[in-house]
């Protein structure tokens, strides 16, 4: 365990020093972050800007803003921690450099999941946390609610990681996976609104087929104290189940890997 923690520190240090060499890129990453938050806030702002509209799917503006905060935070988690690693899996398989990862005396899934970081997108994390703090300051949030939200958000991150890993693992058979990631981003875009803002069949799709509801709506509900116990328990269960399934899928994929040249 301590060996894995030490490796994490080394990986982080290595990517940090590699990225800080290109300082001009920071401007670009900042523009992209502003674009993301702009889209999220505009969508919400225009809906609430209409005369007579005070709630979206039963959520007040502050509460819906909380969901947008969790959405931006998740965008940040994806662009800082998940996507930089996952997008390299397909390349590693195509060029055969996956061999090196598999030969190392550490767990290969840990290796491919933690090697890279995109620190330039860290502003997304700050914007997300800032939005959550701003929205929460206008609502009554109990310490228990905040704790529950933090725990449920941890399951949400596991869910996001598992979906990305499962999609990227298909590269062992399909070689190219950027498009699948695009498709996930498209569906995930729905998470900027509370799931109850959608018509009923879509709500079911976003909860049971692609569990987007657990990523942003459920932690926000925990914070406002409107979460049903059943849903609160379902989120970690879904996360754990997804983790086991993707782990098995990953092991199977690695088992069928035959290197690039053979």
């Amino acid at each position: 365990m301590s060996r894995y923690l030490r490796l994490l520190r080394i990986f982080t240090g290595a990517t940090l020093s590699a990225q800080l060499e290109y300082r001009a890129n920071f401007v670009g990453a900042l523009l992209a972050s502003l674009g993301e938050v702009g889209v999220a806030l505009l969508g919400l702002g225009i809906v609430f800007g209409q005369p007579g509209i005070t709630s979206v799917g039963g959520w007040s503006f502050r509460e819906a803003l909380l969901v947008t905060g969790f959405f931006m935070l998740t965008e940040g988690v994806i662009s800082v921690f998940i996507q930089p690693n996952m997008s390299k899996i397909a390349d590693a398989i195509r060029t055969g450099s996956m061999d090196f990862t598999l030969l190392k005396p550490i767990d290969a899934q840990f290796g491919v999941s933690t090697r890279h970081l995109n620190v330039l997108r860290a502003p997304d994390l700050l914007i997300g946390l800032g939005l959550i703090a701003y929205a929460a300051s206008g609502l009554t949030v109990t310490p228990l609610g905040a704790l529950g939200a933090a725990l449920l958000y941890a399951s949400a991150v596991v869910i996001v990681y598992c979906i990305w890993l499962a999609l990227s693992t298909t590269a062992f058979w399909f070689v190219k996976t950027q498009n699948v990631a695009e498709l996930f981003n498209g569906v995930f875009g729905a998470a900027r609104f509370p799931v109850s803002a959608f018509p009923l069949p879509v709500r079911a799709f976003l909860t049971f087929v692609v569990p987007v509801a657990f990523i942003t709506t459920v932690p926000a509900q925990a914070m406002t104290g409107e979460l049903a116990w059943g849903v609160a328990l379902a989120s970690p269960v879904v996360a754990a189940a997804l983790f086991v399934v993707t782990r098995l899928f990953w092991l199977r994929a690695v088992g069928s890997y035959t290197s690039a040249s053979s």
């Binding site: 809906v47 799917g57 498209g186 729905a190 803002a197 959608f198």
Partner: protein
């Protein structure tokens, strides 16, 4: 382009913002007293947003990404030896992709329309008018995105500028809501930009909410912008080539 048929369908499905907004507005309209917001009922919203989705599919441009890659990798050098401005190859491949996109697009729109209850206009002239405006809008967007992509000669963040340009296009074009839902001062700014005429107006034509005189005025405005973007692209291209030669490529 026909080689990438499966990918074209995935790209189409990943542009979901107008579909997400459609579902939110439809649910809002159903919950509103009287079942409508500013004269749009659920079916009205479905019609408007499916139309914007359709038009935005015709306006997709990715040339900034390709230019960023070509300039950074130096593959542009070989293209400069040809006796034709490389812009035309990019333009042709974008147009070809539109043709591949057409059939799956119509199938999806029909399916979405049946599911959501959208009703498109029965006036025949609205279709060629919307298509013509979309063609002008696509060319305008292609030209300004080309100019943004050429910024890769100077900066490494050209694709981020392109993302910001997309945000302005989506916001002022009316992808979040019909333009008359926006605050008055935003509408006042938007009419001076090309965006409402390239996205919102063709969508309103398909939805039967705009007349032939709107289409004509929009076409004239777009032609004016085309001239502006044409010279803008040319100026950035000439300046960029000087800079490119200067680094010895």
């Amino acid at each position: 382009m026909a080689e990438y048929r499966a990918e074209v369908v995935i790209w189409m499905l990943s542009g979901t913002l107008s579909l997400v907004m459609m579902l939110v507005w439809m649910a809002q309209a159903q919950a509103a007293p009287g079942g409508q917001i500013r004269g749009y009922d659920a079916a009205g919203f479905a019609t408007y947003f499916l139309s914007t989705w359709l038009v935005s599919q015709l306006l997709v441009v990715w040339v900034a990404w390709e230019l960023d890659f070509e300039i950074r990798q130096g593959t542009l050098s070989a293209k400069l030896l040809r006796p034709l401005d490389p812009m035309w190859t990019h333009y042709a491949s974008h147009v070809a992709e539109r043709l591949v996109r057409l059939v799956p697009m119509l199938v999806l729109v029909t399916a979405f329309a049946l599911l959501s209850g959208a009703r498109f206009t029965t006036e025949w002239w609205a279709y060629p008018a919307a298509l013509g405006l979309a063609a002008l809008g696509f060319t305008a967007r292609f030209l300004y995105e080309y100019a943004i992509g050429l910024l890769a000669f100077w900066t490494e963040s050209s694709t981020s500028f392109q993302e910001l340009a997309w945000l302005v296009y989506a916001a002022l074009g009316g992808m979040f809501a019909p333009l008359d839902f926006y605050p008055a001062w935003v509408q006042g700014v938007a009419v001076w930009t090309p965006f409402p005429y390239m996205l919102g107006l063709p969508a309103q034509l398909l939805a039967g909410k705009a007349g032939p005189e709107d289409a004509l005025r929009g076409a004239l405005v777009m032609l004016g912008w085309l001239v502006v973007f044409w010279f803008l692209r040319l100026a950035v291209w000439r300046a960029g080539l000087k800079k490119y030669g200067a680094v010895g490529a």
